[in-house]
Symmetry: C2
């Protein structure tokens, strides 16, 4: 137990994944898919002839905005919570997130009847807090800033023996997110390429594991805001270069890679395409207008990347991951002065 | 040919449907489904556990917002255009519409290589005109008002020998729209009830034909803005009472029943539920927020009706038709002062 506790804490501190033994394999993804099946949606894949014509490619959109809690994050959170021991489950889970991961942990914990605490900054919107509370989690407010959030979560971890669930820096999370690629490969034959957003890299690195194992020739691209381009810089430099105070509309992609996700992206030969803010907003609006899907800015970076960098995609069959659809409908980016 | 031309003109003037021979049957719907199959999407059906809990029912949303041109109107337009004779096809089609029907006629005509003219009021937005033109139709501008629109379309009909396609007052249109119900019955077993919006009644009356033939016990409800409640008044009175200058956010539902749709709704025992403007906007926002689907106000009246009138739906399996998703993203109703 002490050992497990320590491992947990290391993962939360994002030290995981520096040795091959820590890296999730496609077998872990298949086990995750089996495990989480009853708790997640098998999301549909959409095509759109207008966007095919615009891009010169054949696009297949994996609609994780229609996933439970409105984002792929439910996959990793469910895969984590379902692997807790009975004793761990009794002590509960904790995370700090003002976004989709917080809702996902809350929903996954409720599905198993596990107590959950989500640390959120005081500055987070009442709507987001209500969403987390709506999934049955206990919301603890803290001061703004990563340090304050981590400290508050650490206190709950220590005092209650709760298990901390990092949003991307753990093999269970990566394996859970990667299940969306296994589905996509079943749903669409003969894909040439997959494009997914990259923030902390949990989703993209999970996809890279599935792609390398199942379709070694398939090209995997990460789409990243130029204003938060730590993945592009880190892979180019060969070591992690965290992003400092990123200012991007894609609020889900402000985070930086950790050792685990960096190792997987590098090892699996993932390339990064960066996109400008205006392109993200335009792509988001295109998806709303043409596909009638509510997606958040972080999801739209995929289409933005394909439209801004058409060369590698022309004439190809391209999977794009629409990662989430949790948007503040009172503050749409094209309506901001 | 002269005979056909006359029939066409009567239909356009909405005198169709006063005799049983004019009424479409379920055989017409099946023939339409076969005919239009290659030109339309088989749209998905979505469920949502949150909205189930809110309504106390089990809701199945038929997502015609994901249909080609973003609305069910593509079904009827395709069914009409595909039945033109070779000579009629050469002379082309004409309609007057500032909404989804105009886009649908344009797209259906292009699919068969038929020239199309869409009469639109000068006051219609540049976005809507561009959408119609984008589907390859010739746009003719006219003054505002039903009379000016009908006159302009009538001139094109007379001068070019073009076939006028009424948005709902024709058996081919009703049969085309009704195909969505055939699909829904295949996709969802054991429905108790179907709820669809009612404007001119083409969609709702087509559904009523499918329901009576295939599931005689199934209850069919029309959902209608209280501010445009001609269907509710007309069915109560036993004769058509057109709505005068309706002021509703549901811009697709400002039209009134015609003889054909009135006869079908009355004959098939359809009941109407009316909803207030605030309820329509709230339901639209709920669908965007919880289902991540872009739907227009006219589509949201279905959920609004189920939430405002829960009694007939409690514990039942209810199909709701999300008729379209064409929205001006610069002017969302909850952001209007």
């Amino acid at each position: 137990m002490a050992q497990r506790q320590t491992t947990q804490r290391t993962a939360a501190g994002s030290g995981f994944g520096t040795t091959a033994a820590d890296l999730p394999t496609v077998a872990d993804l298949h086990a995750a898919a089996e495990r989480i099946g009853p708790y997640v949606h098998r999301t549909p894949v959409f095509t759109n002839s207008y966007l095919d014509a615009e891009s010169g490619a054949r696009l297949f959109f994996k609609a994780e905005n229609l996933q439970k809690v409105g984002a792929f994050k439910m996959r990793g959170a469910a895969n984590f919570v379902l692997q807790l021991s009975a004793a761990e489950a009794r002590r509960g889970v904790v995370t700090h997130s003002s976004g989709n991961h917080g809702q996902a942990v809350a929903a996954a914990a409720r599905a198993r009847g596990v107590p959950a605490t989500v640390v959120m900054p005081r500055s987070s919107s009442a709507v987001k807090r209500a969403a987390v509370a709506g999934y049955g989690a206990h919301v603890v407010l803290c001061e703004d800033g990563d340090a304050a959030r981590a400290a508050a979560a650490g206190r709950i971890e220590a005092e209650q023996g709760a298990t901390l669930i990092h949003p991307y820096g753990h093999p269970r999370i990566v394996a859970g997110q990667g299940t969306l690629a296994l589905e996509l490969f079943e749903q669409v034959a003969a894909l040439d390429t997959v494009v997914a957003p990259v923030g902390g890299g949990g989703c993209l690195s999970g996809i890279s594991v599935a792609a390398r194992a199942r379709h070694p020739e398939l090209a995997v691209y990460g789409a990243e805001p130029a204003a938060a381009d730590d993945a592009a810089r880190s892979l180019a430099a060969g070591h992690i270069i965290p992003v400092e105070q990123p200012d991007t509309v894609a609020d889900g992609l402000r985070t930086s890679l950790v050792q685990l996700t960096f190792a997987l992206l590098r090892g699996n030969g993932v390339a990064i395409l960066t996109v400008e803010e205006a392109d993200i907003i335009a792509a988001m609006r295109l998806i709303w207008t043409r596909m009638k899907l509510v997606v958040e800015p972080s999801a739209a970076v995929t289409l933005a990347a394909v439209l801004a960098h058409p060369e590698p995609f022309r004439g190809r069959r391209v999977g794009l991951v629409l990662t989430g659809g949790n948007v503040d409908l009172d503050h749409l980016p094209w309506l901001q002065g």
